[in-house]
């Protein structure tokens, strides 16, 4: 009896706890003030329709997405059910195999999109989406979502990876100017090092993806030293991974990242970067312990709260320079939408995402970069976003997608990352490049 009574008590306590915690937390949908439905008329009315969306973006980014398409939902009647999941890359496969694919997925890697397109799971883009894609994006961008000549989706998010973050005040105090060529960059590096401070800081820890910041470094330098053709051949494995030109690029990166005189500012010896999380790696810039940090545009979100970004604020960024000022390759990444269903409401939603209206509305909500040609620079939320969009819209810019996202996953998200960690830890360039080359899957 005693036991029974206690068990009952435990259950009641649990239920009470649940009830107490579960009460009114619902903040409910924000009350929209009279929405102008005019711009949404072209997507039709779909009362009661539902579209499920599955993506990697979560937290604040998920909120911003949902706020952006709230008006679209209200006007068309389409209920967009968004789910953001950190395990996206593994779970999407499971869900598709299990027959419960989402209507629309946001793919962070073109390779993953291609895999589902090849097995016929994805629906080709509708005529409306194809027209919008042609109008909104360059052929380069559209090619990442094109498989065997068929377009499956459109780019949603773009990010520019070739940025070097710095403190304008630090540069001004020491009489340094923003470098426009690689040799100027090395001159700045040497000048800072001579003054006793370490010019560069980096961190490559990122849970199971540890090592990726180094792969971006190498790709960026290869792109600058050898140009886009060699870069494309390298990514497609038409030249071996350990080609002498790649070795040269790696050694150039090594002369900065593996050099105790140049790195790791604010943290210690160069090899300390293996245990520094990439989210925190740039913070020594604020304290003046480090001069430069090469990281993507999305690093803007990672500065401690209260850090101001701008040409005369706490931090700002410049494009990693090439051999001469005219040589401006940009390494970047992106997220692509593609649909597993072709119901009319899914089509309407995809067309909305492919429009410049969506990109502009999203940019007004907060930091966001789209490669869509129709975005208005005035909507950029931060100076770095503006810089990114300028670069992406400039016809002279040679944009290249992050190579490790295009390589086979076993290399691009496997041996390349792991090899980078070993390399930072002291392994020789030749040794690491050879072992990555050997790990390339044979066809």
């Amino acid at each position: 009896m005693r036991f029974g009574a206690r068990l009952t008590l435990a259950v009641i306590a649990l239920a009470a706890l649940a009830a107490a915690c579960g009460v009114p937390q619902d903040s409910g949908p924000q009350s929209h003030t009279a929405v102008d439905c005019g711009p949404y008329a072209k997507y039709g009315k779909h009362p009661g329709a539902k579209v499920t969306v599955y993506a990697e973006n979560r937290d604040r980014e998920a909120d911003l997405f949902e706020e952006t398409w709230a008006d679209f939902s209200d006007c068309t009647g389409i209920d967009v059910q968004y789910e953001g999941d950190g395990e996206f890359e593994a779970q999407i496969q499971l869900r598709v195999d299990g027959g419960s694919a989402p209507d629309v997925a946001f793919f962070p890697q073109p390779g993953l999109l291609e895999r589902f397109a090849r097995v016929g799971k994805l629906k080709p883009a509708s005529a409306g989406v194809v027209a919008l894609a042609k109008q909104g994006w360059s052929a380069d961008w559209n090619s990442y979502a094109t498989v065997n000549g068929t377009l499956y989706g459109t780019p949603l998010v773009a990010n520019v990876k070739s940025f070097v973050w710095y403190s304008p005040k630090f540069f001004r105090d020491r009489g340094l100017s923003v470098p426009r060529t690689w040799s100027e960059l090395m001159a700045v590096t040497e000048k800072v090092a001579a003054s006793g401070a370490k010019p560069w800081c980096a961190g490559i820890e990122s849970a199971e993806a540890t090592g990726w910041p180094v792969t971006d470094w190498i790709e960026d330098v290869l792109l600058r030293q050898q140009g886009t053709d060699v870069y494309d051949q390298w990514v497609a494995h038409e030249i071996p991974f350990d080609d002498p030109r790649v070795i040269k690029a790696m050694d150039t990166v090594g002369s900065i990242l593996k050099n105790d005189r140049y790195a790791n500012g604010g943290f210690g010896p160069a090899r300390s970067m293996a245990s520094i999380s990439f989210q925190e790696a740039g913070t020594p810039i604020l304290s003046g312990d480090c001069a430069m940090h090469r990281q993507a545009s999305f690093y803007a979100d990672m500065w401690p709260k209260g850090t101001e970004i701008g040409p005369d604020k706490d931090v700002y960024a410049f494009l990693l320079p090439g051999a001469d000022p005219a040589n401006r390759p940009v390494l970047g990444g992106g997220v692509f939408t593609a649909a597993f269903a072709d119901r009319p409401e899914v089509r309407a939603y995809q067309e909305y995402l492919a429009s410049a209206d969506f990109a502009n509305a999203r940019m007004k909500k907060g930091p966001f970069v789209s490669a869509n040609k129709g975005v208005d620079l005035a909507n950029a939320a931060t100076p770095v976003d503006r810089l990114s969009i300028q670069l992406l819209q400039d016809p002279r810019t040679q944009f290249r997608f992050d190579g490790s996202d295009l390589m086979p996953a076993s290399v691009g998200a496997g041996t390349f990352w792991k090899g980078s960690v070993d390399w930072i830890g002291g392994a020789s360039t030749r040794q690491v490049a050879d072992s990555i080359e050997r790990s390339w899957p044979s066809r």
Binding site: F3, R6, A10, A13, L14, A15, L17, A18, C21, G22, Q25, D26, S27, G28, E56, N57, R58, D59, R60, E61, A62, D63, E66, Q81, E83, G84, D85, G86, E87, Q91, L94, R95, D97, G98, G99, S100, S206, A207, S277, Q279, E280, F298, D301, M302, P304, K305
Partner: protein, 295 residues
């Protein structure tokens, strides 16, 4: 027996046990202390600096528990889902396995031993292998079974079903071994006195099997409460049906830069299993031997 007990309680061994306990608890203690520190301090200094400069705040708990949208924790909502998922997922296999174990242990029928071996063998099927077939069953049906096509809160049904199915082989095996070890005289005496299977089950076997039932319930409770894989695959991830583990996994943000939330989140998630474990500890320790010694 006495010699063993004496040797185990010697002073040296006690101190070793204390040292191990301290070593094992220190990281958890650090996490607990961190969860009360302000965000900037969590991110810049170690938890031990708290003793020098004590700044306590409940902000982290406020942030992870409440709020709306995806940008705040909202763990309170997910907490309810966890309870709704866990209680039936413990009760269903417990009841089913109890009946099955009784039948397999005390009712003679043809093929009984083969059935016991078969159930025992089912334990080797890894859960991960069954996920895709299970998803297919829910979304497309199988043979004569129709598709479930559940939406909204009805998706809890999928998770209950999956946890029950995955738990049954072990539950039946554990309880069967325990029940088969009950004294034959006792069961037969009750039968001679005219007890039906129903009476026997409820009046004689149920009270005796309590330690085994409790230990299985605790194991299953902690397993289901902490489960991420099944929930991630079957719950759909929305605040409507997903449990706390799913929310915790994405609490750090897309780029992991909000990881200070994990300190408080971890403790919100851990408080219930701790409560269950401590309140049922005595039964649990007794039941640990359940099914292992056949009498």
């Amino acid at each position: 027996m006495n010699g063993v007990r004496e040797r185990l309680t010697s002073r040296a061994l006690t101190s070793v046990a204390v040292v191990i306990a301290v070593l094992w608890t220190t990281p958890t203690l650090g996490l607990l202390l961190s969860s009360f520190r302000p965000e900037e301090e969590i991110k810049t200094t170690g938890w031990w600096t708290l003793f020098g400069t004590p700044h306590f705040t409940l902000d982290n708990y406020g942030e992870v528990l409440s709020g709306g949208g995806n940008g705040s924790g909202r763990l309170a909502e997910y907490f309810v889902n966890s309870v709704v998922i866990t209680l039936p997922s413990v009760l269903f296999p417990l009841v089913l396995a109890f009946f099955a174990a009784y039948a397999l242990a005390w009712i003679d029928f043809r093929g009984r031993d083969a059935l016991v071996v078969g159930i025992f063998a089912l334990q080797v099927v890894p859960l991960q292998m069954a996920l895709v077939p299970l998803l297919k069953l829910f979304s497309q049906g199988w043979l004569f079974l129709p598709a479930w096509n559940l939406t909204g809160p009805a998706r809890f049904g999928q998770i209950w079903f999956a946890h029950t199915v995955f738990a049954l082989p072990f539950a039946v095996f554990l309880l069967h071994n325990f029940l088969a070890g009950l004294p034959r005289d006792l069961i037969e005496a009750a039968r001679v006195d005219g007890a039906s299977h129903g009476t026997l089950l409820l009046r004689i076997v149920l009270p005796l099997a309590r330690p085994a039932l409790v230990s299985f319930a605790v194991i299953q409770f902690i397993w289901v409460w902490n489960d991420l894989l099944v929930a991630l695959t079957l719950s759909g991830g929305s605040a409507e049906t997903a449990p706390m583990t799913v929310r915790l996994a994405s609490l750090a943000g897309t780029y992991g830069n909000e990881w200070q939330r994990l300190t408080a989140g971890a403790f919100v998630a851990a408080c219930v299993p701790l409560l269950v474990f401590f309140s049922l500890r005595r039964h649990f320790a007794r039941g640990l031997l359940a099914g292992s010694v056949k009498g």
